[in-house]
């Protein structure tokens, strides 16, 4: 079920009413959430529900085993089993074709023609998200940071809680499990925050991102026939499309959770107002970047060693983080570019003994990240190469506009979206708590205007981009 569908518009209020009617019985409330979450997922494809149940069961059981076992070796073995089960699922469904094709291509470099098998595998929606979520649970128990739960319904609800099931935010058990296991109280200010954030999220997604996507899709479909300025314009649009698409999704997820009395962590914090590349990664898809930092970068040794060792860890983390997004080399390159940028920034800042680049820091991150988006969006490595070449050897020709209405609508709505971001940045406020700052009348009026803007300008051209990951 999509957040921007009529079905969700019926689903969420229905769950909301039933949920608060069961307020006095936590067990029934959690069971309702579990059933609702499975319905939410099954609406897309019920057959893949079995994967979620499998993953939940494995980690529920292993979590208890790790905690109960006294032997360090046995603990490690249980953890290995959890890693193998979860990453095995990912490998089978997401990376099987990538591995076999890459192997065959590598053999071809040595002159050996290898017949490789590719399977027609459908990527189950949300698999990258919920496997990381359950992994964090077992790893935290292994690291003695968390005690396992014996409440199976609560754990299964943690894995499948519908606002974050298919595209995050990747919520840690340390944040979510205590909330699931304790009585939730309805808070009026949370309700205000939630409805406001859902409205803003919908606007960001269906109005800004989807309108920008119309132009981006048309240009990126045939990059070879377009000039440099057209490709630059499309890439700038894409950088905002993906931001508003995913930030919008996260807003609806966080807002929906708040209506049910759950506090999710912030997932986007105005990333295009960053003053360095490392700052971007503290503001963009925060739940993933912090997951990679805590469970991959630190596991590799983090910065506890020589500079070279730290750089290696950074590069590995970013490349694997890139591959988490998709099973092509484009994503690995995208990750590698970010790794190199982070390493380069560390070297330069350390040599100049500065913490950031001053005003210049607000300029360069956007433009270098912009180049990396080419690899993220281009359909393959060859297309990305064509675009990068044209952007580097710029031809200064007039950009191709195409559908004027779509481009003007996209730009106008982008200005509104960025104005809200600028307001949040200057006033040092967070979108997550903006709803409570408005009086009910102001809140109602603002949401009504947002509904009007959505009615007039929504576009249904694109699915949520992060669904494909």
């Amino acid at each position: 079920m999509l957040f921007n569908s009529i079905e969700y518009l019926i689903f969420l209020p229905t769950v909301f009413i039933l949920y608060w009617l069961l307020n006095k019985d936590l067990k029934k409330q959690n069971l309702l959430l579990l059933i609702a979450s499975y319905v939410f997922y099954a609406y897309w494809d019920w057959t893949f529900l079995s994967l979620i149940i499998y993953s939940s069961f494995i980690d529920y059981y292993i979590g208890i085993k790790i905690y109960e076992t006294n032997s360090a070796k046995a603990k490690k073995n249980w953890l290995r089993l959890s890693l193998f089960s979860n990453l095995g699922l990912l490998a089978a469904f997401k990376y099987f074709n990538f591995f076999t094709e890459s192997f065959a291509e590598m053999m071809l470099l040595f002159g050996w023609q290898v017949d490789h098998v590719t399977l027609n595998i459908i990527l189950p929606v949300g698999i990258s998200f919920y496997t990381f979520q359950t992994l964090s649970y077992t790893i935290d128990i292994y690291r003695d940071k968390l005690k396992p739960t014996k409440n199976i319904v609560a754990f299964f609800t943690f894995v499948s809680l519908f606002p974050q099931l298919v595209a995050g935010p990747i919520e840690r058990a340390s944040n979510l499990m205590p909330q699931i296991e304790s009585v939730r109280k309805f808070k009026q200010k949370w309700f205000h925050d939630g409805v406001f954030q859902i409205a803003v999220g919908l606007f960001r997604k269906v109005v800004i991102a989807d309108n920008l996507g119309v132009y981006v899709d048309s240009i990126y479909a045939s990059p070879d026939v377009h000039n440099s300025s057209t490709l630059l314009l499309a890439t700038i649009f894409y950088s905002y499309q993906i931001y508003f698409d995913f930030a919008g999704y996260s807003d609806i997820a966080i807002g929906s959770a708040k209506l049910l009395g759950f506090r999710f962590n912030q997932n986007f914090n105005l990333p295009y107002f960053s003053n360095s590349i490392s700052d971007i990664w503290q503001r963009w898809h925060i739940s993933l970047s912090s997951w990679l930092r805590d469970y991959l970068y630190y596991s590799l040794g983090g910065s506890r060693g020589t500079a070279l060792f730290t750089f290696r860890n950074l590069m590995l983390t970013m490349i694997l983080g890139g591959l988490w997004h998709g099973n092509t080399w484009n994503f690995a390159i995208w990750g590698a570019i970010h790794g190199l940028l982070l390493v380069g920034e560390k070297i330069i800042f350390s040599a100049l003994k500065i913490k950031n680049a001053g005003w210049f820091g607000y300029v360069y991150p956007f433009w270098v990240v912009l180049l990396s988006w080419v690899f993220f969006r281009a359909k393959d490595f060859e297309a990305a190469g064509v675009i990068i070449k044209k952007l580097i050897f710029f031809d200064f020709k007039i950009p191709f506009i195409g559908d004027t209405n779509a481009i003007v609508t996209g730009l106008s709505m982008l200005i509104i979206g960025m104005s809200l971001d600028l307001y949040l940045y200057r006033s040092k406020q967070e979108l997550e708590t903006l709803g409570r700052r408005l009086t009910p009348i102001k809140l109602g009026a603002v949401i009504s205007v947002i509904i009007l803007l959505i009615s007039l300008f929504y576009s249904t051209s694109n699915n949520f981009i992060y669904f494909q990951f």
Binding site: I6, W20, N23, F186, Q188, F191, H192, V195, S222, D224, V225, H226, N227, K397, I398, F400, N405, A406, V408, T409, S412, P440, I441, L443, G444, A445, I447, S448, V449, I451, L452, S455, L456, F457, Y458, S459
Partner: protein
Amino acid sequence: MNKKQIINTLKLIGFIVVVSFIIDKIAYFTITKISDTVYSGQAIGKLNHYLAIKDTTKLIVFGSSRANHHIDVKKLNASSYNMGVDGKFIAYSATLIKLLPKDLKQTVILHVDPNVAYREYYNREETKTLMVKYHTNDVIKEELDRAELTNPLQNFYWCIDYNGLVLGILKNAVFPKYDLEHYYGYDPMEVHSTQKEIFEKILARNDSIECKTNLKLNPLFNSYLKEIETFCTNNNKKLITITTPLYIDKCPEDNNALRKVLEDLNIEYHDYSNFFKDNNSTDYWIDIAHMSDVGAEIFSEALSKDISIND
């Protein structure tokens, strides 16, 4: 959730529903008032123009951008209008044809695209732009309801009728594109250097085309075609179908199949897909399927000799 919280929550939801409904209606009637004065632009202006002239014009061309940019209707008849619109196909045309006056003798030229006729998926989504008249025109409302293209919220939020069109309406209200007195729906396209460069690159790429083998007429296309034929027969309209030129048509099979279908329905058909086969030039083209103003003028001249209607 205590009683006070329930009341406050219901109050807020009720307030949002009421205020959003009122704001929506204020916006809807304001936009409608502006929109009704707009006579330029493909989405609204042309539709308004058509509704204004449809009862007095003798010859009207319907179809997609290929009808719009290729047929200079004044070469066919002095009392004529080109109602071809970018990205619009047979469902859109059929709806507009059904708005023609019942007894007036008129000629309907319908541009048919074999590629659309034999498309596996054709969902008549292009008729969505007629949504602007959803709450003001019964024929259009009926057609859109039948096509199941309306948004379930549309009966509450009427502004959805204008989804994606407001900026265009405002722009055309303030800066109309045409001199209305001289505009008759035909929009010739001049080739700009960027466009020409893109087209030449596409040609140089020499993409291979796979012709469809198992040709199956799209049932929706077939049904609309029959509806148009019935309407025209019953309402004193002469129906002529045409297919305008392509830069090159490597797959004539669908044209031949469509010709057979039209013959069976006893509908006059002229296929000009390979009109420029022997004397082609890139100057005549914007892209593979769209002629430039130069190509369109040459074609319209030839068309007028074939199907000139002067009464």
